[in-house]
Amino acid sequence: MLAQLDRKLWRDLSRMKGQALAVALVMACGLAMLIMARSLIYSLESTSDAYYRAHRFAEVFAQLKRAPLGLLDRVRAIPGVALVQGGLSVQVTLDIPGLDEPASGNVRSLPEDGEPELNRLFLRRGQWFRPGGKREVLVSEAFAEANRLEPGDSIALLLNGRRQTFRIAGIVLSPEFIFESRPGAALPDNRSYGIFWLPYEELAHAFDLYGAFNSLALTLAADASERAVIAALDSLLEPYGGRGAHGRADHPSHIRVRDEIGVLRTLSVAFPVVFLSVAAFMVNAVLARLLNLQREQIAILKAFGFGNRQIVAHYLKFALVMVAAGTVFGAVGGNLLGRQLVVMYRMWFRFPDLHFIPDRSAFVLALAVSAFAAVAGVFSAVRRAAQLPPAEAMRPEPPARYRPAVLERTGIARFLSHSFRIAVRNLERRPMQALFTVAGLALATGIMIVPNCFRDSVAVVLGFQWDVTQRQDISVGLIEPQDRRARDAFAHLPGVQTVEPFRNAVARLRFGHRSRQIALQGLTRTGDHTRIIAPGTREIAPPEHGVVLSQKLAEVLGARIGDRLRIEVLEGRRLSADVPLVGVADDMAGLNAYLSLTALNRLLGEGDLVSGASFTVDPDRRTDFLRALKTVPRVGWVAIKESLRQNFEQTTAASINLIQTIYLTFATVVAFGVVYNNARISLAERSRELATLRVIGFSQREVAAVLVTELVILALLAVPCGLLLGTGFATAIVTQVNTETVRLPLVLTAHNYAFAVLVVAIASTISGFLVLRRLNQLNLVSALRAPE
């Protein structure tokens, strides 16, 4: 008996396959997001965990000026310390053949004998150092790829001012540099900044550091307290120029991986909830219509002795078939999206082997969640139908009751056309169906706004960063602070239009019990390159007394203007001072503390020194400038605004494009789906009414106008809701990006809104057009017959 009922199920479904498909696709969007996000979380977490474990990623990190290797034994003796690895880490510039500008990087030492205790490398291509081999270097993969370097190629490193050529032995990856960027930079610049490894002896000799270390990593014993170990380590290293140890939570590469997983977690909940709610409404609308059409069939089934339970089960199966189809589409879609995103992640994150690993539990969860949504959406309608007494169900539904629409009662009725009246009254009679269609269209509009808001916000940050606050073309940093002579050398480089020296120093800022380790920036008071902008676009000069902080840093410290902060310099003579907070800067990237160059030098007590300089350069002589810069000794790093911009285009912009494509697809599917569903239901429920209009002399176009008017009214209602919803989504997501690395302002442009509306309008129009084509097939003769 039930087998026959199932046969009915399939035949009914094949008749309404368009609508079932529309529901399944909307559901699939949410499930794809769920499966994609959860699988990516799983992929990133399991891959990084395995990588960290296999390559012994350290748990505590410290930088210092220099300490004898013998001190490592005392580090090992700190209670709670498991493994310790000391080594060298220095900043260098290098000369890449074919690259005009000097690149810079971080060179690290590797033990002569065997693998390091911690932070072991992964050899991607080429070989490790040959025993006894000289002048060999290992290069990070991101840098090698960006500069098309292969094992066997040569690069020239300026080690402590001496230019030395090295042969690339191998291309490697490190768990310390999954996200590889210049310290403090929000965006990677793999073309001009890389990580390199040299044998300890070679590096130590070049920098007169033989028998010493300036960088330290360690792991913790099973039940050790990270905080206690860091405190002990800091006091041990302080005499050696220790700059303050930190745990993984402050490790720049680890933070980026962790933040990405955090974003995915938000996606894996927020979007599926919204999509599945709309899908649940759609299932409800489709089934409610089916139940209306099948009132008599239900009555007959009951008359023949089918129980309520069997009938409820039969109609729930309709919903479950759509759920199953949605889950299959969602799984396929989630897999495809996930694989695309993994390709994008490979651009940002360097793992030995990052694969998309489908999270099987996500599929089960997807099925369960969507089944719940669908059943919740239809259960009451199905139960009501099942409980109808057979005799009552056998009678056709009583005629629909209408009344003048609210709109007409306002007195503008006489200006309304008949098709407008029919449309408005229909919408008012079925407010829930109208509401769900509006909700779906609003959702589609809303999700379109998010990626463009993101793009616009990033553009504002970059514009602010590159055009407003940092107006130099090129910045150059020295390995060690130097006196006036370096300043003169900079001024004589070819093509220099303006040059402004700066001084940086690592310091810990304390206010009350809170503290942050940052780089103090000493700027010339008359300078025009790095500008400090206070809220309200007012420019502040670097203060002679006191300090100006990034608003975010003031927030982190809980300090307000007028408060006195404690500055503990972590390098040089390690002096401390109490200074007033005299202003906050409205900057969007990093945690910055500004004061005047002379004030900083006074604080440091080392005389009139500079850490580097920023330049504006005659565009025609840029190449000369960069070529000459390569010969300047003791340059530690070079940052070129133009190449940062280009790099951004290739990475960040490409990622945002991918995300936008995904959102565009989802918005299109949802807009298409809800309009299709609404129009099909209207067409089916009112085919008799529409056929009557045709019979009494209305043309196809005039009949279509009735349905189109309805859809247009719904769309017009949906647009403001969608823009509001999108503003909400964008606000929620963009303001989430308020980290110490970067803070996105909320930027909502008319262009963004217009594009969202346009996409949804096009999808809805095509969808509506597809349904209206069915008006051709409207059976005029059936209008004369008895209602079904």
């Binding site: 009583p398 005629p399 629909a400 009751r401 209408y402 009344r403 003048p404 008949h418 009246r421 029919i422 009254r425 229909n426 009679r429 008799r688 009414e689 009557t692 209009l693 045709r694 019979v695 009494i696 002399g697 209305f698 043309s699 196809q700 005039e702 005029l780 003769v781 209008a783 004369l784 017959r785 008895a786 209602p787």
Partner: protein, 272 residues
């Protein structure tokens, strides 16, 4: 704007509305006999055939119908269900095309008319009345009629049309607030408001009780009489044959016989 036409007196021409010959010759009431050759011909069918399906499932709904209908006639098309009478009505109304044969409405060849031409034909010349009224549920009585008067060439006002079927007091009610008979009278008002040349009624009283059915038939008869509209009523109710000028007996897709009433019975004299 469009006052209800005054019932023409015997021998007097109806108002000249620019459609030559259509309303000119009003027939003497309750007097028509067989097809009156003096009345202008409105429909002419020759060998009209309609086949549904193919092969073994082939059904000859119309199996070669020859027929002529004239202006101002009240025709009752009588036949059992499945006899093909609705199929014939659909052909006359331009809702469906024949498989073979020809059908002329005045000088328009309905057999070969395209969709747009048929829409125009329905809009300008035909009024339909259905068994189940088929009102637009979201429009009031007045608006249901106004829907048609807006697109018609020379309509009467909705108020006048509704007045003709005696529904002025219920003019602002929605279909759900009207009884079946009232709904059918709104449907009649809707059909006649455009002053069609042809009024096609498919079992107009089929869903109504006797008393209400008679009220509806009176309205149809009045329209035929006062406006001179060629009226075709399909029914399987033989009693209604008495109110016709001519009765066409239909079965197996063919006209079996036609008989003319010497005198049309008044609808209120009918009983079933």
């Amino acid at each position: 704007m469009h006052p209800v036409r005054r019932p023409p007196l015997d021998g007097e021409d109806s108002v000249n509305d620019g459609r030559p010959g259509l309303y000119r010759r009003m027939h003497p009431v309750h007097e028509s006999a067989g097809a009156d050759p003096a009345r202008p011909q409105v429909f002419r069918a020759r060998g009209l055939t309609k086949v549904y399906g193919s092969g073994e499932a082939e059904v000859h709904a119309l199996a070669g119908v020859d027929l002529e209908l004239h202006a101002g006639e009240l025709i009752v098309l009588l036949g059992p269900s499945g006899s093909g009478k609705t199929t014939l009505l659909n052909q006359l109304g331009g809702l469906d095309g024949p498989t073979a044969g020809e059908l002329w409405y005045r000088d328009i060849d309905l057999t070969h008319a395209d969709e747009a031409a048929l829409t125009h034909y329905r809009r300008d010349s035909v009024g339909f009345i259905f068994q189940f009224y088929n009102l637009i549920p979201s429009l009031t009585a007045r608006e249901n009629v106004a829907l048609i008067t807006e697109i018609a060439r020379d309509p009467m006002t909705p108020e006048a049309a509704l007045d003709m079927v005696g529904l002025s007091p219920r003019i602002d009610h929605f279909p759900a607030q009207l009884s079946g008979g009232e709904q059918q009278r709104v449907a009649i008002a809707r059909a006649i408001a455009k002053r069609p040349e042809v009024l096609l009624c498919d079992e107009p009283t089929g869903a109504l009780d006797v008393r209400t059915g008679i009220v509806v038939l009176e309205a149809i008869e009045r329209v035929n009489r006062e406006l001179g509209t060629l009226t075709v009523i399909i029914t399987h109710n033989a009693v209604m044959a008495d109110m016709a000028d001519r009765v066409i007996h239909f079965s197996d897709g063919r006209v079996q016989r036609i008989h003319a009433n010497a005198r049309r019975a008044r609808p209120d004299s009918l009983h079933w």
